[in-house]
Symmetry: C2
Amino acid sequence: MARKETITKNDILNAAFEMAREEGFEQVSARTLASRAGCSTQPIFRVYKNMEELGDDLFTKAIAFFGAYFEEFPKLNDTPFVNLGLAYIRFSQEEQNLFRLLFLSENRHGKSLYDMLNGKNGVVVREINSAKIFGCKDPSGMFMKMWIFIHGAACMTLTGDYDLQEEDTIKLLEECYHAFQEV
Amino acid sequence: MARKETITKNDILNAAFEMAREEGFEQVSARTLASRAGCSTQPIFRVYKNMEELGDDLFTKAIAFFGAYFEEFPKLNDTPFVNLGLAYIRFSQEEQNLFRLLFLSENRHGKSLYDMLNGKNGVVVREINSAKIFGCKDPSGMFMKMWIFIHGAACMTLTGDYDLQEEDTIKLLEECYHAFQEV
DNA sequence: GCCGTATAGTAACGTATGTTATTATAATAT
DNA sequence: ATATTATAATAACATACGTTACTATACGGC
């Protein structure tokens, strides 16, 4: 009946995601994206009503990416909280642009940090349960403090205001964990 | 000899600062700024070589503003660290755009967070000395941890991921302070 | 009161943005 | 083979950006 589609919605989204990842979300414009995807701007507006709609999809994909990153992160430390922190801080280092998009922008979906981390996989709840097993008095209060700390370290990593070797970070997180357990 | 200047460098800078403060740094363009200052774009380029140069001045002014904010912040709590945190977190709430510019952008002057806070006034050093007085074993390690925590709370405040009443924040900061003192 | 000159306003250039109209293309049903 | 039709490329529109050329203006020295 008609011409076959050569550029799929996925092609567009993938190209956009890689651009956002490598060059930053704000660098993804209709033209630069088209160039990256090896087509004109037309296929973009065929599959997306406008650029904002693509941005929403991109954001969702970034959440999923972070989730996978998190799951696959090697368990370098026995304490779940420490591992959680290491993964998060490393993500802020290795995926600066995605970190900015996910955790430092105006929230695209109205989803809070907590909601995002506690989605389908429920890492947060899992960690809190671990904390219970590890005999912490107030697991959710504990988690909140740890999370604030971890988030702070990650944000400072991003801006270059914090730059420790991994062993030092582990030590720092362990100290925190124990400190918060006492109170 | 010549016409008198009606729009001074300060007029430009002040207008730019207020714009950045209210609407965000990225909203300050030559035209929007001119409109705000009640003139054409010409006076801007008379006193500034280009917009980037104005951006540098703006950033410097923002640092000074934060310093003043900090100095004038009421001493709501006896513990200096807690006060420090309260001021910082409140700043992130009340001056979201300036907070972003100062603490979450690519650093304009290559100045680290620490350097900025430890400028002429030396708040940081002062706090560390207070900590010594308060009998903390490792004041600088302690300060680092507190600062990471405070920064984390402020960043989460900015994105709406943390939203406690002031009394709760005080309680949280006090708990942290004591926790870190134990270790 | 006129002249020189620094200042400010107007308008333009070149570039980039999102988006849309138009044209060309390729695959299928007939 | 031809007509139909969804797809993709080209080109354009309206807007915004930094920046600069040009023009008008107003002030101080004479």
